[in-house]
Symmetry: C2
Subunit: 482 residues, 2 copies
Amino acid sequence: MGKQKQGSNYVEEITKMEQDFSQWYTDVVLKAELADYGMVKGCMAIKPYGFQIWEQIRAGLNERLMATGHQNVYLPILIPESLLNKEKEHVEGFAPEVAWVTIGGEKELEERLCIRPTSETLFSTMFAKWVNSWRDLPLLYNQWGNVVRWEKSTRPFLRTAEFLWQEGHTVHATAEESAAETQKILNLYSDYAEKVLAIPVIKGRKTEQEKFAGAVNTYTIEAMMHDGQALQAGTSHNFGQNFSIPFEIKYQNKAGKMEYCWQTSWGVTTRLIGGIIMVHGDNRGLVLPPRVAPVQVILVPIAGHKTGVLKKCQEVLQELRNLYRVIIDDRDNYSPGWKFNQWEMKGVPLRLEIGPRDIIHEQVVLVRRDTGEKEVVKIEQLKEQIGSKLADIQNSLFQKALEKREKRTYRAEQLKDFKKIIAKETGFIKGMLCGNKECEEKMKEITRTTVRCIPFEQEKLSERCICCGGAAGEMAIFARAY
Amino acid sequence: MGKQKQGSNYVEEITKMEQDFSQWYTDVVLKAELADYGMVKGCMAIKPYGFQIWEQIRAGLNERLMATGHQNVYLPILIPESLLNKEKEHVEGFAPEVAWVTIGGEKELEERLCIRPTSETLFSTMFAKWVNSWRDLPLLYNQWGNVVRWEKSTRPFLRTAEFLWQEGHTVHATAEESAAETQKILNLYSDYAEKVLAIPVIKGRKTEQEKFAGAVNTYTIEAMMHDGQALQAGTSHNFGQNFSIPFEIKYQNKAGKMEYCWQTSWGVTTRLIGGIIMVHGDNRGLVLPPRVAPVQVILVPIAGHKTGVLKKCQEVLQELRNLYRVIIDDRDNYSPGWKFNQWEMKGVPLRLEIGPRDIIHEQVVLVRRDTGEKEVVKIEQLKEQIGSKLADIQNSLFQKALEKREKRTYRAEQLKDFKKIIAKETGFIKGMLCGNKECEEKMKEITRTTVRCIPFEQEKLSERCICCGGAAGEMAIFARAY
């Protein structure tokens, strides 16, 4: 009830990641107060700190989407079964995992409605109404919302029955334009992941087997987690005319002729938060890249009861708050040591300590979350020092993640090499594929990895398919994935 | 296909509000491109311009909520039936209008789940887990999201099966604190409605009959629409311990004793957009108060093909864009007249015209949406002129709405007076009530009005209840309502 003991066992309660990575992940989610288990199987309750991270991501991506001419809209959460059924591959892909509303207002519904697992069918229905002439095109729409997919095994952020996301839906006059949009968004996602989340990603194309239900092509950014497994971090789909034909989305071209439109869709979800945890976190908890951290600097008064300490802290706070996301932890029923642990658990990039002695010497102590490095900094240099340290942390987290990925990326020319690698390691494995789906299937069976993508950056590892030994088409990246 | 004729019949397509108010409303929603009918009965598709208005409202309210110490969270959209059933009045109020999910992942669910119509039961379940000690209190949470209520008759924004809203949920240690929070939020809502949306509101308490299912008290802000009908624009509920007891939300007080918590909830929804339309709109379309308008100034080039016009427009745009939300309409396949009509329909507060002659005289033409007033303004004075005109429009819209409300507010001492008034007029009627629910019920039957609220600002109209003639308790405001 009273003051917490300095050095109380706050951090030791976390499982070490080397010991049980999955338990470590759950521990971080709960102890860093990102989310809690909800009351419905597979759903989560996102707590304030976790939601702040999502709000950072949402704001950052939204700004980029608006700057590239996209507009936000909101379409209904319910989809009539007949609509979902309109595109054959789409319904086959999604029907097994939807939640069906069968009763509304105490009456059995004539037609059951599913909670959107994604909104292609809704957007396509509206597009058919909204698009008439070449003048209406392109329509570049985006929606921030929730979707429900009935998943068998779930994990907070990574795979949940309900998740938050943005889904972009665009309509174009030509095949070239829809192809260009798909790439533009993929680049936007990859730039955001690398520059802001400090997560290096590999851009590539999904195979026929792995592409989105209803797409002509799906492009992806794939990231590697601490344990060597892959996380699909964002996808961008080119639909060609797969939806515009069954949904009759047509426009009159400049010559007065009616033509079918070309469409794309693309999305990233709250699973990005899972990615941040598993790329940057350590055995002391979460580590947040400064550009996405809701709190970039936590200011902890030392001996806050002593004359002048809180006043000095407030002065420093005022000076910094227009430049950085900084807050002060002046709770008087927790010791500084306890606070240090808590904010480390929450992954705040920089800790700033100010005590009576620091005031005399006009200095503060700055501590980096990522390296634990401690430095005494003169108050007059504080503003610049914080800026350069944050930039340094941002950069260093990216570099570390990149190095780890490189170290755990392997190449295999033959199946026996591939098997040797996966017997010992978890990581990305590069291998050539002939392009037949039988080989991809067989690789999945034998190796329990999937093709994450056919990366844009190709290498010619060999002339032969790793599976059948036939003529190699393209290089694929294989991995186990979340 | 070519250039639109100047003065084409864009505006005349709207029904006049005096002729058919309800059709006028629908016309504005569709022609101003705020929303369209969705593909599920009672659901709407919010289009970019309508969604921008919602984003303005969301940002404005969110800023106020964060500034008063609230935090955003996100809880699941699905509620198990057993949870919904935990608070008796609550389930009786909401069960008739929920949508039930009975099948998930192709399997019949053991327990059916409803799509949240509101989230008290979810928040209360989590609060029971999250609250342990007095140190954890208060919890001041807010959620931006969607809810579904199976409504029989629906209208875009005003009443839809799915709507967007914010729902606040707070937990406190004492009855005083929860009562204070309820009032604080009601004041925040009323301040926002009046200062930003320019909608005058009456603050008051809902009667026992009209209060939220499960609340001890419901407070409301009530606005009057153009047609004299009332719109409930926001509500704030004090739950006392009605939820904390069945959900067992307890905390250890400073003396070490366990006590039940005190709770509130409160919300405003996308229906505020309906309120804006029906308070400020006119027969030329939407009229937006400057503080909530996504576009405050629309710049229309006149004879844009003439030398220097577009260049000048761009210069002016650059100068204004950091101060105001201003965009340029430089589409070359629409005439200026057509554009004037369109932006009037969309309710943009100020139009700025720049043509060849204006450039010579270093001036522009400014036109107010609300009054149609036209003024020639020197470019050097433009910045300040726009600022003062926007402030003027904001103020004048509020004053006009207030005057209209005053004019249509009546007082009745006896039932026969009340009947006379409603035979001729639609508006707010003040009348005394004894407080028995039988009288309220009877008034509803006889007059087809409901008690909108017991206003905080009381008047003593008479000593007797308007219905039964018994001793009067408080003054009520009666009206027909959306």
